[in-house]
Symmetry: C2
Subunit: 290 residues, 2 copies
Amino acid sequence: MKVGFIGLGAMGRPMARNLIAAGHDLRLWSRNRESAATLVAAGAEHCDSPREMAAGCEAVVTMVTTGDDVKAVSLGADGVLAGLAEGAVHVDMSTIAPGEARELAAEYTSRGVEFLDAPVSGGTVGAEAGSLAIMIGGDEHAIDKVRPLLEAMGGRIRRIGPSGAGQVAKACNQMVFVSALQACAEALHLAAASGVDVGRVREALLGGSAWSKALDGWGQRMVSRDFGAGVEARLHHKDFGILMNEAMGTGVPLPIAAQVWQQLNALMASGFGQEDTSSLLRVLEQGRGR
Amino acid sequence: MKVGFIGLGAMGRPMARNLIAAGHDLRLWSRNRESAATLVAAGAEHCDSPREMAAGCEAVVTMVTTGDDVKAVSLGADGVLAGLAEGAVHVDMSTIAPGEARELAAEYTSRGVEFLDAPVSGGTVGAEAGSLAIMIGGDEHAIDKVRPLLEAMGGRIRRIGPSGAGQVAKACNQMVFVSALQACAEALHLAAASGVDVGRVREALLGGSAWSKALDGWGQRMVSRDFGAGVEARLHHKDFGILMNEAMGTGVPLPIAAQVWQQLNALMASGFGQEDTSSLLRVLEQGRGR
């Protein structure tokens, strides 16, 4: 397929590479041309605007940071929507608010263009392996049009419901995942304070009901104190803003999500925003050394 | 081996059965003789006191509820310690406070008898399959003496450290596991309130970084609203008392553990103590219907 791609960050870059590897004809737009250099060398074409990139594409994929970022590249005279033909599909894989996804979908639909919210989980490891979980809000027939693209990037591809539903699932995903990181941090912190070997505790816990990807992968980062980022913690902080807004909007109590949110605030205030979210351990350790 | 067993609850019964199945010569004591009937029919011998049971045994396994329960069957004129020969091993697989385990170990050691704290994770499913994670505090040579017994009950057998360390690991395990249940409950509750299919959300989340045994097994219980107990929630409530006492004793902040503890208090107050801990979902739902 002829496909446009915007958003060459830690996640987007390997996702774009997997699209090229699957034989798709990739067109790029990025504010900073240099960030596209290796993909251009691999055969992608760099364009002068999102609109120019989208023109002639059957689909466009975006993987940017915020809802405002998606709107900035999508709407307006130079945006993706202005370039896409009727019946083409914009697959937004960014993590944005469900309400923003619904607004964008309504705008696209009014112009006869499809819009899917399709946020992902799996981190940079999943992005590189092409094994991301993709959570989709939007119409089944639009998903069918872009299925080859989704299959090049993802392992588990699931339609959750209508527009916005993918973003609701993603908010739930971040809630479950980052809470698991915080629980690991608290458990290992307690073990250390009790004079017990934290590596052995993690190892033992992996044998029982406490098994999680968080404990396996990120727990190991905590044990070996490897806080260099895969996905930067500031992005989880951003996602919790979305999550807690949803809690406000729906009026449901999320007691531990609220607490994890505050720990992420403390993480940001501690200057760990560009490191890995396993830095939640260091937030607990502050003020008592290790 | 000739082995005594006390504690024929939802966990202890299948563990005892696995010891018989592995060819060990099982002796039992229980306050209520009837609870031992099926095991006696399978070849176990019922004894009149913990002391009488322990006499002649190379090892005794206990799987009771509280530290006081362990002391009641272990110490005193009719207790396990009075019956065990020098060099024999008492393996306490109950979940009790690390401090209580250390006290018991000191008392046993002073009489030349071994004591291991060896709490487990894996629930009734792991107990039945003989695949429990066993977290051990105590001496390596004592562990070696009872390894055939541990292998009949457990899949992952790990020495964590000296006496009490197994119980520290277990407190960490409960922290990580029950926090994961609470996170699942909050995520599914938010999804439902957002009008999104909770089964699809759980399914999608299992494909990415949010994967956990809690989401897989207990998340499914929440989706299908199957709140009948495997391990009763009141036992997790008890375990959180131990955990928060350890936090007090070591002076470490456990922000989400503290919040989960309060949700377990609310669960108990709601009358869900004898049901499954996936009932944490129902605690969130109270006051707004479903």
